[in-house]
Assembly symmetry: C2
Homo-oligomer: 247 residues x 2
Amino acid sequence: MARTGSCFTMSKRFHLSMSEHRNRLLAALSADDLVLLEPHLQHVMLARRDVLEVPNKTVENVYFIEAGVASVVAVNGRGERIEVGLIGCEGMSGVTIVMGNHRSPHSTYMQISGEGLRIGAAQLRKALSKSATLQTLLLHFAQVFMTQAAQTAVANGRAKLEQRLARWVLMAHDRSADNNVSLTHEFLSVMLGVRRASVTVALDGFKKRGLIEARRGGITVLDRKAIEKIAGSFYGVPEAEFRRLIG
Amino acid sequence: MARTGSCFTMSKRFHLSMSEHRNRLLAALSADDLVLLEPHLQHVMLARRDVLEVPNKTVENVYFIEAGVASVVAVNGRGERIEVGLIGCEGMSGVTIVMGNHRSPHSTYMQISGEGLRIGAAQLRKALSKSATLQTLLLHFAQVFMTQAAQTAVANGRAKLEQRLARWVLMAHDRSADNNVSLTHEFLSVMLGVRRASVTVALDGFKKRGLIEARRGGITVLDRKAIEKIAGSFYGVPEAEFRRLIG
DNA sequence: CGCACTGCGTACGCTTCCGTACGCAGATAG
DNA sequence: CTATCTGCGTACGGAAGCGTACGCAGTGCG
């Protein structure tokens, strides 16, 4: 079950050129649209807990993720937090900008460290206004992201903890270059909106069945198929939308 | 606590003219943008259970709701359903069209009967491509809707049944012209993803505290403030976004 | 007017997950 | 090398909500 190549790769083909972007959105852009963006893209390292977006504050920069995972977390007045979406090399932060807005009530921060390409919100806005095809592509991603949020609502409302955990592991795995996913139970419990201890117990169940291997601060996926079986139909809808609209 | 005027009215001002649209989106449009849409708008009655959108089928028509409430329901492969959003006179169905797409994995149908203005998806698409301001407004609504979905995820993950129920009643009340909300416990249980009996018990709790009045097939809101207190911070985020971006 | 149907109230045992809490082990800093 | 901190395993009583199920009361239809 070894995995090679970059995350969220939809085919086994090796990369076509050195210059092909690791970020799936940028990779899907036409040459013309790339010319619009590239002068403003700046490569940055993204460490765990780095904040990409603060709730209800104007978004300064948008990040096309190349590696690692960011969480979009909904906060509600009284600090109750829960993850509504997860972004990796297949996407971007700052979807609100694509939708002609300047801020959102959500918080976005790095969950698994990585790197990305940063662009100023103003620059992106300008590029969007110049190219309809760029706008279309990024709007399609916004649609995918919205689907993810909606499916999170379904999972939170109807799935058992074990299924939700499986779903999360799969989504993180999709966005990972190898089979390792780095995260603490504590962090994961916040994402899922459950107790830390519940995560420990559930992951232990996976471990005992040989689906994962666990170490301090992370897990290794051993049997993805089996995890998919546990997640059942709570996993896969936004992924299908991504393939249909972008990949 | 009698309520007058149309739903989701943000101020006490009476309507400025006979021709002002009851739908808040249409009401917010410039005269020029209205001219683009109005020739294609057709008034239709919308009965409970009328289907506005079928999952993964091309959207033929988009509806600007004038009265009643439509539910956007996420379905996941194995038929597990749950509501992710609720649309009334403040919005429209077919957000996916605004985002440059033709279909979505969600199901949309009338929950509380009403009426609306229908426009063909193709016509709307054409109008969108002609007017940036129209596109901006409708994208803003898409953002509001996405916020609603995200907050539904939070509520489903963190709130107790009573709080979720309060949230739903408030959102339905917002979209209602008076204090009556017509729905069966059965329907509501599907929306919230819980047992029908749980809804009965929870509503009974509200009734005993004098917050609502119940009859077969519907309730009357008596003490909205108290219901808001129960919902706490699980209610209000998308509503604030609406006011900021549109209202 | 009677019958079937839909909607509502209630009840009981059961599962899942929570709140809390304690101890241990690997990591990090002095 | 010791102290401290962070992360993980485990445990127990309790709450919320589930599955199931039964009965009754409005409502509509023949």
